[in-house]
Amino acid sequence: MGQGNSKIEVTKADKAILQLKISKDELHRYTKHTETLVFNERKRLKSLLREDPKGGTKNPRARILLKKIHYQSRLLDQAADQLINLENLVATVEFKLVERQFMAGLKQGNEVLTRLNREFKGAEDLMDSVAEQIAYQEEIDQVLSSSVVGGFEEELDRELEALDQEVNGTVNVPENSAIGAGEELGLPDVPADKPVVSPEMPSTGELPRIQDPDKAHERAGTQTKSEPQRERALA
């Protein structure tokens, strides 16, 4: 299958087109020939009239020449029509060839599609079974979650609370929730510990106060997260 050996095949259709085109060429040649003929005769007629300006129009030779020119140009028209016909025919044949290829492609595509579809034959059963399995899975999930989550978790919570009370003595939980408000009020004491930090920051009167919530944040862990952003905006 070397490139040099691959022969371009000549089909019957090619042969037929060649015949068509040869006859078309013949017509084309004829048209060209006739065109020059008409042109030359017209020239001759003109020169004839120029030679004999008075009797030129009555000259029988001139009449005959004009007649001939007309006859030739009529033939020329016919030839042109036929030429167009032939060209149309060639174009149609060529288009049909393309269409044939198109049909072949379509056929092949269809074949492949049917073959692929055949492979999907068991799809319905498969889908049914999948749906069944999923439903079953959901069922299992529900059973499991209801048995674990219901009651048991609450019990755990209660037990944990009881333990907490036992260990910490006082009620710890409410303090936890109050920390956010309580710390902010109690804070003014804290900045006194670290005056070193504030000079490094841009000197704004507000700054130390803004740092406080930060520290409060560290301690409480639940402070508002917008604080650092506010600090940056001020800087």
Binding site: I17, K24, D25
Partner: protein, 180 residues
């Protein structure tokens, strides 16, 4: 027809065979260039032995080897020598009927130009007759328009050798070509 040739064409000593070998060599080369230039200017695909352009509809009675304006003509033996030089340098191809095909471009150039025509005109994978290629309306603006058929066959043969084309024969005559 000889108006556009370089001024050396009107140089009288050009028409006599120079005795000195070196000068003669130069002289022959000049003649080769002149002939090709002449052929190109006049679209003269074939020129016969005497220097007349063949195959054109209009009759012309002057040969390139005769310069009327300076009343000089190259003698026949010298003309022979010029043609031999042309053949030797592959600027012409002699046909079986004895006329010379002028190659102001190489055959390879022509074949690739034709291939270009096939590609730009969308004629690939179609049957095209040689007449259509050489005389048809679609190749009017191409340089190979009007080329002699046998020279064209030579060019197309190159395309076949490259595996790009097949020649279609009809009654033992190459009539069409199919280019892939």
């Amino acid at each position: 027809m000889t108006e556009n040739l370089p001024p050396i064409y009107n140089f009288p000593p050009l028409y006599t065979c120079q005795p000195n070998v070196l000068i003669r060599e130069q002289q022959l080369n000049t003649w080769c260039d002149l002939l090709l230039e002449y052929a190109k200017n006049n679209n003269a695909w074939c020129i016969n032995q005497e220097g007349f352009i063949m195959g054109t509809s209009e009759s012309n009675n002057n040969t390139i080897f005769k310069n009327e304006s300076i009343q000089r003509a190259a003698p026949a033996p010298f003309i022979d020598q010029i043609w031999r030089k042309m053949l030797q340098s592959q600027k012409v191809v002699k046909s079986s009927s004895g006329v010379y095909f002028m190659l102001w471009r190489t055959i390879d150039y022509w074949s690739s130009l034709m291939l270009q025509w096939f590609e730009t005109c969308g004629k690939l994978n179609q049957v095209v007759t040689l007449y259509e290629l050489l005389e048809g309306d679609e190749s009017l603006n191409w340089e190979f328009h009007g080329m002699h058929q046998s020279l064209c066959e030579e060019c197309l043969q190159r395309l076949c050798d490259r595996g790009r084309a097949t020649l279609l024969k009809e009654q033992n005559k190459v009539m069409g070509i199919k280019v892939l």
